[in-house]
Assembly symmetry: C2
Homo-oligomer: 198 residues x 2
DNA sequence: GGCCTTAAGTTAACGCCGTCAACATTTGAA
DNA sequence: TTCAAATGTTGACGGCGTTAACTTAAGGCC
């Protein structure tokens, strides 16, 4: 019998079920609909049950965000694994980052929300975020001299993150060619600018 | 007698007082402390009074955000007015943007928060945001050919916005030299990369 | 100056939220 | 088998956004 089977009174795997429920609520109805009570309702337990598995609401949010970082990391790994050439690889990584954000708007917002509090309070979340970030750092390392690595890395992450945020909130007027082309052009021209001399 | 004088029962200028109160709460205690009831308490009126001036909480948030965009625009104007050389001007604009974000973290988050809903619901907010954005667009126009303006503009905004967000949420490990130097280097190297040929 | 519409306040209530204390049930190890 | 610990339940608290119903002050009109 799987550990996720319910036995009537005891749920079996409520922690995971709550993260599932929260993720679903976030994806389907947005951040405002993601409440502890709603997650409990979806999971079919009482309002206070989540407190046996999460110290407070932020702990559940952190678990959802952690799953988001893991998924982002997974997608980036796929892209990195199928692209050898360093410029192209970094550029595709950037595109994958932005695409992930646009496909999971509420989740992406949560992953960078101040609601989560300090990363220090959620070690698992910090680790998952660091793994995702590490992929990009590796790709940058193959393009720039070590002396400029930190700046180049911060710059790369900033462009893709900023582009994701601005598109997500509808702050950028889309040019002819649409979203995909803008993403391609912005990431491509940034990666070109990274090279010491063109 | 100024229109902001209270006459006992009637406040005199409650709308402005509520925006003041909300801005203060946001700055001193953060987003979570910014509630309609708290703003009303600070302004010294009852919990329902704000509804005579704002249709709902989001309308108050939009007014606060609008003020934020106006202040950001003001700061950027000062920088743009005192820097003639186009590269330097754009770079300083970027630095000013990031500095504004770091000095007003909660306000900056609100200005780009999905809580505000669509910009179409808040024309004043949209206009204030467009003015601030326009300054940057002008600076970019002096650096790149018209054919790449849109991409360059999106890229520029993305870097500075992304850098602001990541620093704000403590996601970037600070190199030796600290925040200011990182901001300077990232913006400078991006502006350098903008030029058609170095 | 008195009247009366209306803008701008008030109080009281509704349902929802996060959270906690007190209690109930199930599980598994001694 | 017994009993402690883990995992559930109910019911309550205060705070939130929001609304309805009521009260007060301001300002134009005769």
């Amino acid at each position: 019998m799987s550990p996720s089977q319910s036995t009537g009174y005891h749920h079996g795997n409520l922690r995971t079920a709550l993260i599932d429920a929260a993720t679903e609520l976030l994806g389907r109805e947005g951040n405002a609909a993601l409440t502890l009570r709603a997650a409990a309702r979806v999971a079919g337990v009482s309002q206070a049950a989540p407190y046996k598995h999460f110290s407070d609401k932020r702990a559940l949010l952190a678990a959802v965000a952690e799953r988001g970082y893991t998924e982002l990391h997974h997608r980036c790994e796929l892209v990195a694994g199928t692209t050898r050439e360093p410029h192209t690889r970094l550029q595709r990584l950037g595109e994958a980052y932005v695409r992930f954000a646009l496909e999971n708007p509420a989740l992406f917002r949560l992953m960078f929300s101040a609601e989560l509090g300090s990363m220090a309070d959620h070690p698992g979340l910090a680790a998952a975020a660091a793994r995702a970030h590490g992929l990009m750092e590796d790709a940058v390392r193959q393009l720039v001299p070590p002396s400029t690595l930190e700046t180049a890395c911060a710059g790369t992450w900033s462009v893709v993150h900023g582009l994701a945020c601005l598109l997500l909130e509808g702050r950028i007027r889309l040019p002819t060619g649409g979203e995909s082309q803008l993403i391609h052009q912005v990431t491509a021209s940034f990666v070109d600018g990274l090279m010491p001399d063109a």
